[in-house]
């Protein structure tokens, strides 16, 4: 038991200050990284993929040192990683832990499924109202068409 814990520590090391995004579906890790714009961040980032998870079988985890995210930014990832949780670490202590929540409105980072929508032709930032959170449905603020969970294309 002791050994097990020790080995986990080695796989993904703890951070002093920053944000941990845990329980990401294994296949969604890269998309989550893109969504949070992690390429633009200079601080240390540790990524674990295909880790064992008692709850989900396999999971991904991202640890970002020295960065704290707006809850709006974190909630965006609920679209592709609904099981994810966010943990805020300060001085090696967990100061906040919560599950991601699908927001009521989504701006900018999802493409509208309608090829004839103005947002797919001119420099217009996309904007959606979330009309169903369980069976994810996004209604375009502009063309009013519905983008369903199988059509979600992240910009």
């Amino acid at each position: 038991m002791q050994n097990d814990n020790k080995r986990k520590e080695l796989v993904v090391s703890a951070i002093q200050n920053g944000t941990v995004i845990d329980h990401i579906p294994a296949k969604s890790v890269f998309r989550v990284m893109r969504m949070l714009n992690l390429e633009q961040i200079d601080t240390q980032i540790t990524v674990g993929m295909n880790l064992e998870s008692r709850k989900y079988g396999r999971k991904g985890i991202i640890k970002v040192s020295g960065q704290f995210f707006e809850s709006e930014a974190i909630n965006k990832i609920a679209l592709i990683a609904p099981t994810a949780s966010m943990i805020v670490i300060k001085d090696y202590e967990v100061v906040e832990k919560r599950n991601v929540e699908i927001p009521d409105e989504i701006t900018r980072f999802v493409r509208c499924v309608n090829p004839n929508c103005i947002t797919n032709h001119q420099a217009v930032a996309t904007r959606f109202k979330v009309i169903d959170k369980n069976d994810l449905k996004l209604q375009c603020h502009f063309c009013e068409k519905i983008t369903g969970k199988n059509n979600i294309d992240i910009l």
Partner: protein, 302 residues
């Protein structure tokens, strides 16, 4: 509704629909009023639509307004690659209200949000065409003397026909019973039917046009387009099933009237035109009164 854009029929409340219809009635009685002589109306037609444009320009002219604009993009700076935003911002310097038709869906909402002056949507692709919807409401009220508690039949392409969707949404405010006649492939989308149910109203679906003739107060005909069918054989099977002829009207209600957003192709035969039930040409004329009402209400002079 002063200074407020009209993009989608759901932007207005029931009280606002009724205000526009009442105002339109006053313009029908007295179409020429010089109340917009100090105003400039811009009509920006990014795709041609002669009927809608002329109807708006006629409405504006009869109220004394000056009309500027373009009727297709080749004669505007859009052909040089100007963005919609830039066109709207430029034109808003020259005018007091913009009437816009654009082939892209959502363009009208976007234009209304970047524009410092109000925008009336005259059709954004297959999305919304609220002034058509208001003129249909006007025609229904005028022919029936009321909007409440009517049996309205929609016939033809109920899946892609945007006028049908907006009309159903708007008529949900008036205790309507809906009769939906279409081929199986072109049934009303479920989100529109949900809207009917959410308002505790009833709808009935049919594939046979003859069934609704004795029960309808209004028959709203639409065109079935060949390109809507993935299988051309399916189109051949249904294309003649939704054609209204004069001899089919024998058992209809006395007050029943036939509406059609026009242009028609063959879905209403010409022998219907001379029946008392035919109302589609007067319906088009009503569009001018409704657009006079909208221009004057949004510009705040009525």
């Amino acid at each position: 509704m002063k200074n407020r854009s009209l993009v989608s029929i759901t932007d207005y409340s029931k009280a606002e629909y009724l205000k526009i219809l009442d105002l339109a009635e006053t313009f029908e009685k007295e179409p020429k009023q010089n109340i917009l002589k100090d105003y400039v109306v811009a009509t920006l037609f990014f795709e041609p639509s002669t009927r809608t444009r002329l109807s708006f320009e006629s409405a504006a002219s009869r109220l004394g307004a000056k009309v500027i604009g373009f009727s297709d993009v080749s004669s505007s700076s859009v052909s040089k690659g100007e963005t919609l935003k830039d066109t709207i911002l430029t034109v808003s310097n020259y005018s007091d209200i913009i009437v816009m038709r654009h082939p892209r869906e959502g363009s009208a909402r976007f234009a209304s949000e970047v524009s410092p002056i109000p925008v009336i949507n005259a059709g954004d692709g297959g999305n919304q065409h609220p002034t058509q919807c208001l003129l249909d409401l006007y025609s229904i009220r005028k022919t029936q003397g009321r909007l409440d508690g009517l049996n309205i039949a929609f016939v033809g392409d109920l899946k892609y026909g945007r006028t049908v969707h907006s009309n159903v949404m708007a008529m949900c405010n008036f205790e309507t019973t809906f009769h939906l006649v279409s081929p199986i492939e072109l049934k009303l989308p479920s989100y529109v039917k949900m809207h009917i149910k959410d308002n505790n109203l009833n709808y009935y679906q049919y594939t046979d046009l003859n069934e609704i003739i004795p029960i309808a107060d209004i028959i709203y005909m639409t065109r079935i387009q060949r390109e809507r069918f993935s299988d051309p054989i399916e189109y051949e099977k249904v294309k003649n099933a939704y054609i209204l002829t004069a001899d089919m009207l024998s058992g209809c209600r006395e007050n029943m009237r036939i509406l059609h957003p026009l242009p028609r192709v063959n879905e209403i035969t010409e022998d219907v035109d001379s029946t008392v039930q035919a109302y589609y040409f007067q319906q088009a004329l009503n569009g001018v009164f409704v657009r006079q009402a909208l221009l004057s209400a949004i510009l705040g002079v009525k």
